[in-house]
Subunit: 223 residues, 2 copies
Amino acid sequence: MNNCFIVEGKKSITEFLESDYDLIKLFSVDRSFFSKIENQVNIDNSLLKRISFLINPDDHVAIFKLNDVKPIDNNNLIVALESISDPGNLGTIIRNCEWFGVKDVICSKDSVDCFNPKVIQSAMGSVSRINITYLDLCSYLKSSKTIKIGTSLNGKSIYKHHKSFDNGILVFGNEANGISSDLFNLMDYNFSIPRFHNNKFPESLNLASSLGIILSEIRRKSI
Amino acid sequence: MNNCFIVEGKKSITEFLESDYDLIKLFSVDRSFFSKIENQVNIDNSLLKRISFLINPDDHVAIFKLNDVKPIDNNNLIVALESISDPGNLGTIIRNCEWFGVKDVICSKDSVDCFNPKVIQSAMGSVSRINITYLDLCSYLKSSKTIKIGTSLNGKSIYKHHKSFDNGILVFGNEANGISSDLFNLMDYNFSIPRFHNNKFPESLNLASSLGIILSEIRRKSI
């Protein structure tokens, strides 16, 4: 089946049902939890285990229809991700973005699919509310007139920048390689989170945690 | 084999070899990368796939000996974790702790094992340098005279606290349930990271990201 994706877990399914995504079918071992949902099919536990991506499936597997792409709102802070490969990282990033009021996440076309079941699972429902757009990131950044905020291991300390950013594009690179030089040359700022000791380890922070810390730093300056 | 643990990946193995953990045996498809390590056994790819925990094994699997427990240094900031269940989360937390200069991580006895291969993998070598102690967390906190800093969804905004903590025990609870009431009653502070919008979603931030943000906030105040 094309143009659809799977959501598992009562909480995530509930949040997608409350969003503007349309349910195609809900497969349930026990219909009582979603008793008001008509578009529901009873299945047994052995079928649930076959169609679920989880080791311990949670009684329900829902199939939703993909929505059409929505326009990006350039008046708010946008997060752009280059070549993100780990689905757990992407899900956590989308959840962190929602917490800090980011409404648009842009991904380069070679990033992991945001409708991958592991992304949906680690985003805890946030995929249903964040506008996620896959595009040619280099062309987009070249054509955009918004401020571009890069992040790397060798930038200016984020703690020493005292302005907030009400809009702008905050760019994070691939987990292992960071932002590519092509994109890096387009940045107006280059920020780092400094280590609080003099050793060389760990080499880097986890990507989703870094993004959470940078978003927290940007938002706290607006308080 | 008891009292030992597995490390995979060239980077992590290199960092454990540089630490005070003793190598028991290094299994290698290609001996050239660790050519100076004598305690090495050649294996072929099919055996590597059988002994590795990774989907794409990285040529080497090392077995190290567990060290004796070391004393906790109460003069520095300590991170304490209650009932952490996700190994990826624990690994990322240990890595974040090292970045922000935390040397001791304390885990309640029902937390996931820090020598679980998934913890070692997501900690990226930090397990080799951080002192991790499993103990009865409630008894420990009751007997400790150090400041206890709790975190929850309903605490005081961390952005409104303007002092750093050079020492103290920063406590985080289980991914789904937070800090138990028994421990919570022992806290001197209760901090939250506020959402930057008025919706109720997402219900929470990812645990490792929250810990990174709180550590960043504590440390930035000491600059």
